[in-house]
């Protein structure tokens, strides 16, 4: 994998659910280390885009590649480099936080994962409750645990669907060293927060009914343009 390869390239990317085009011909290129923030009303295709880039969904038409690997044919190559945070925590309620993270560490083949697990739990202030079953967690705690899971294997690319939802200001600060811009990872973030999203974006994508109605460097985009997407 050449380091100069763009992190994400989409070309005419279409994803259909039956007849409906959830993504309708998306073209974009995101360089490594940059942040793409995706805006759009509910049902615009943000989550579908993240799921396609995560390899959970296949493109129906067009191409998508991540770190130089065609996701349609070589998704398996890049899975270890993807950290995905969706609407669900992807953790089992009847396992403890530590057991959930240990499980994901084993699925990612992380050697010596215990120290890494303790580090992320400590960072998100979940250490003390790490041996409790997850079903008793609040939504904020679940979101912090989900972030721990997404970054456990130290992926190069983070795909984050509303990563700060359910988090209080203190928790947002806690997770910043894991998913914030300072980490230096390539990030694709779905957001409903025009000002906050714009502040951390290098590139902005606006979606409506699956189509890109806005694609521009963040410095050329105003919060009003983003707000327009929701009208």
């Amino acid at each position: 994998m050449a380091s100069t390869e763009p992190a994400v390239v989409c070309s005419g990317l279409v994803r259909r659910y039956g007849e409906r085009r959830a993504l309708d011909g998306i073209d974009l290129t995101l360089e490594q280390g940059q942040t793409l923030v995706v805006f759009g009303p509910n049902g615009a295709g943000k989550t579908t885009l993240l799921r396609v880039l995560s390899t959970l969904l296949r493109p129906s038409e067009g191409n998508a590649s991540l770190l130089g690997s065609d996701l349609r044919k070589e998704g398996w190559k890049v899975r270890s480099q993807i950290g995905f945070l969706g609407h669900q925590s992807l953790c089992y309620g009847d396992l403890t936080a530590r057991e959930n993270l240990r499980y994901h560490a084993r699925l990612h083949g992380i050697g010596g994962a215990a120290a890494r697990i303790e580090a992320v739990l400590e960072q998100t202030q979940l250490s003390d409750r790490g041996d409790e079953r997850v079903f008793g967690y609040s939504r904020g705690m679940l979101q912090r645990l989900a972030i721990c899971r997404a970054v456990l294997h130290e992926p190069q690319v983070l795909l984050l669907d509303e990563p700060r939802s359910n988090l209080d200001p203190a928790a947002i600060e806690q997770v910043e060293p894991l998913i914030g811009a300072a980490v230096g990872r390539t990030r694709v973030i779905a957001s409903h927060d025009p000002a906050g999203g714009l502040a951390e974006a290098n590139l902005v994508l606006g979606l409506r009914n699956g189509a890109a109605t806005l694609l521009a460097p963040a410095e050329q985009v105003s919060t009003e343009q983003i707000a327009e997407l929701y009208r």
Partner: protein, 232 residues
């Protein structure tokens, strides 16, 4: 932390299997439901047939129909936690071989079926079975249970893998699993019949061979198809 390397099939299988058994140990829903179903079915058969004891073909039929229907409960529960809590996505996002999920799920189901097979055999022999099989017949019956349960576990995991991708999951499980299990049920019922007959009999090897062949075919089918079923 040392660098991450995609886990082997064995390592990923052990991770999923440990998770599955831990979940069932913490919230024993599947085994409890299957055991209760078997006990209830035998009580119902006891009164519905109007007999205190059954033997031969009837005994084999009652035992295996009950076990097959109990297995449907286990098959239906196979991916419930993964679906409701996003665990399947969690697995698919990892660079783990997809075969590991098949092997772990089938092994989990096999373990459950073996436990229920043992439990049901004991309850059945107490509540309904007329002749008391000798040690050799019990051993033959145990062999049949292992072979039949292996086939049910393979078919069940394959069907559960199909069902999880559909909206009519609960329907799909029953609609697809039962017809596919018909050859297995015929073979195992025929093979069990002489073992549950007064005066006793021996195991018919041709039915045993058929069960083995069934397991082999569905093992290969599951191995070939499972990746495509669970991935988009």
């Amino acid at each position: 932390m040392s660098a991450a390397r995609p886990p082997s099939v064995l390592s990923a299988t052990r991770a999923v299997l440990y998770k599955e058994l831990t979940l069932e140990r913490r919230a024993p829903q599947t085994l409890t439901a299957m055991a209760l179903f078997c006990a209830s079915a035998f009580v119902i058969f006891h009164f519905a047939l109007g007999r205190n004891e059954v033997e031969g073909a009837l005994a084999a039929g009652v035992l295996w129909v009950t076990l097959a229907l109990a297995a449907l409960l286990g098959i239906g529960r196979s991916f419930v936690a993964d679906r409701e809590e996003g665990g399947l996505d969690g697995f698919l996002l990892a660079p783990a071989p997809r075969t590991a999920l098949l092997v772990a799920k089938a092994t989990t189901l096999l373990i459950f079926l073996l436990i229920i097979g043992f439990f049901a055999s004991v309850i059945f022999s107490v509540l309904l079975l007329g002749p008391t099989p000798n040690a050799s017949q019990w051993a033959s019956l145990a062999l049949l249970i292992v072979l039949a349960d292996l086939g049910i576990a393979l078919v069940g995991t394959l069907i559960a893998g199909i069902a999880i991708q559909t909206r009519a999951r609960d329907l799909i499980t029953s609609i697809l699993a039962l017809p596919l299990l018909i050859p297995l049920l015929i073979a195992v019922t025929k093979a069990s019949e002489p073992l549950l007959t007064v005066g006793g009999g021996t195991l018919a090897w041709r039915w045993l061979a058929l069960l083995g062949l069934y397991d082999l075919i569905f093992g290969l089918l599951a191995y070939a198809l499972f990746d495509y079923l669970v991935e988009d």
